[in-house]
Symmetry: C2
Subunit: 170 residues, 2 copies
């Protein structure tokens, strides 16, 4: 992946202002099932306004954008966290922004995740849709979903000014 | 995998009495992000007694048991669902039992999952710990976790009579 000055490795520490990193690193927190499995426990809590919504599990099948990728539109979900875990072992990019009302390119942070790293965006964190490097990649997603007549007002969008940010990744 | 008469393919229909199958099959339910991704939406709801517990995301690193596998102990979680999604593309077995107080071998159902199929055990469903075929396999897990002084009484176990059930899978 061609480096861009804004791209940094995904670590728990660097990502902390934006949410959690989901990965099994080091030793498991404890063993379960008579030692048959290690549990990396509660890597993130699912955070949601449960009134009118319920956490649910979905799969996103992402397609690689044309190169150069142009980051133009951010979104955030005021009513819940949103977790993404890759289901195939390929690098991908998690793009987030500082918690300001109108982010600009200067507020953007880009994290290069390995294929065994997921993230959970904290409730209300600005983020760009998944940017993948392979032609297609599936992600398990855990977020607040609405069934019936719950509050669906869980999406805010913000266009980046000046045409956004172009990334050359090919 | 050497067939056992109790092993059947994992399908949504056959697994329905025990929970949900998590997989992206066929076309996505709808497109998101200007067509950049397909969403297989809300494949299962996370079900939990939220009083005293919170859904959280963990990773289990399962180890392959010695062959033959002997299924001896089942467990169930009365306070919440438990979802497992493989993070590498290898077959595995989901073992469940009918909703009786003291399951016997006759109550056991064994489902062969592909490496792109996960399951969510419904709240209270008897199940065996993950049975994997590769030496090691990671699973993303979504279940009710307790932080602080919540109700931890979320595990019941049942030993299968007569030494359980032996599976030759090698």
């Amino acid at each position: 992946m061609n480096p861009h000055p804004k791209i940094q490795p995904l670590t728990k520490e660097a990502f902390a202002p934006f949410g959690d990193v989901i990965e099994a690193s080091g030793d498991a927190d404890f063993m379960i099932n008579d030692g048959a499995a290690g549990r990396y426990h509660a890597l993130c809590k699912v955070d949601a306004d449960f009134k009118g919504g319920t956490p649910a599990i979905s799969i996103f099948r992402a397609k690689r954008p044309a190169w150069p990728v142009r980051l133009t539109l951010l979104e955030r979900h005021p009513l819940g966290s949103q977790a993404f875990m890759p289901l195939s072992n390929h690098e991908w990019l998690a793009v987030v922004a500082d918690p300001v009302d109108k982010p600009t390119i200067d507020n953007i942070h880009i994290f290069r995740a390995t294929g065994s790293q997921g993230v959970q965006y904290a409730r209300g964190t600005w983020h760009h849709p998944l940017v993948i490097v392979e032609p297609s990649q599936d992600f398990l997603v855990v977020d607040r979903c609405v069934f019936g007549d719950g509050d669906t007002n869980n999406l805010e969008e913000c266009a980046l000014p000046n045409g956004g940010l172009a990334l050359e990744l090919g």
